[in-house]
């Protein structure tokens, strides 16, 4: 395993630990947020975005290049109908099941084996999206 994979693995461990700690690996908790009964999720998402924003906008200014890469490259996402329609479809799926890709992966680590069905379904869904282009 090379250095980049190792640091990504470490980042994944932190991310998974945090998602489990904050309860986001429990579909019931996510659904209770979406039913506006428990606002915890907004603090987890907002807190994570805030920390990431400091890393991207402040820490990156002090480092000439990334610790494990050659240069900084912005990931530009162009707003299109795909973004909007995709977000609508994602929202319906999220509202039905209370799971999203990251939380589903981490949920496996908490022993939630039924989520394997959800992960398999996500792969099928992503594959079907790919078929539309070909």
């Amino acid at each position: 395993m090379n250095k980049t994979n190792l640091i990504v693995l470490f980042g994944g461990i932190l991310f998974g630990f945090g998602l489990a700690y904050s309860g986001m690996t429990k579909q019931e908790i996510v659904l209770s947020f979406l039913q506006l009964k428990d606002l915890g999720l907004i603090f987890v998402l907002g807190g994570a975005a805030l920390v990431t924003a400091v890393a991207i906008n402040v820490l990156a200014k002090f480092l000439k290049k990334p610790a494990f890469g050659k240069q900084y490259k912005p990931r530009t996402r162009i707003l299109s109908w795909s973004t909007i329609v995709g977000a609508i479809i994602f929202g319906v799926g999220w509202g039905i099941s209370g799971q999203c890709p990251g939380s589903a992966m981490a949920s496996l680590g908490t022993g939630n084996y039924p989520i394997l069905i959800g992960i398999a379904a996500m792969f099928i869904g992503a594959y079907l999206r790919g078929l539309l282009d070909s």
Partner: protein, 91 residues
């Protein structure tokens, strides 16, 4: 791949250490997990991001596209979850 493995290991570490309840399985009905997963997979790829990609990284980098995507998917998910609840489907 190492990200996915890391996330599973990280959540496992939490479950084995700080978790007050230990291993856990969802009570949400499997058809909801399956149907929701299918739509989440399709939607994530079509919109080039999910709660992590648009929600955390996108908002953090102040991407206009991501901010719009988050507003749309969160609004739609809140409406959907409440409709599901109104239909008497629980858990």
């Amino acid at each position: 791949m190492s990200l996915a493995i890391g996330m599973i290991v990280g959540a496992l570490l939490y479950t084995l250490t700080l978790s007050p309840t230990g291993f856990w399985t969802t009570t949400v009905q499997l058809w909801r997990i399956a149907l929701g997963g299918l739509l989440v997979g399709f939607g994530t790829r079509l919109s080039s991001g999910c709660t992590s990609g648009h929600g955390i990284s996108g908002i953090a980098s102040l991407s206009k596209t991501s901010i719009i995507a988050v507003i749309v998917f969160m609004g739609v998910a809140i409406i959907t979850a409440n409709i599901v609840q109104l239909l008497g489907i629980s858990p």
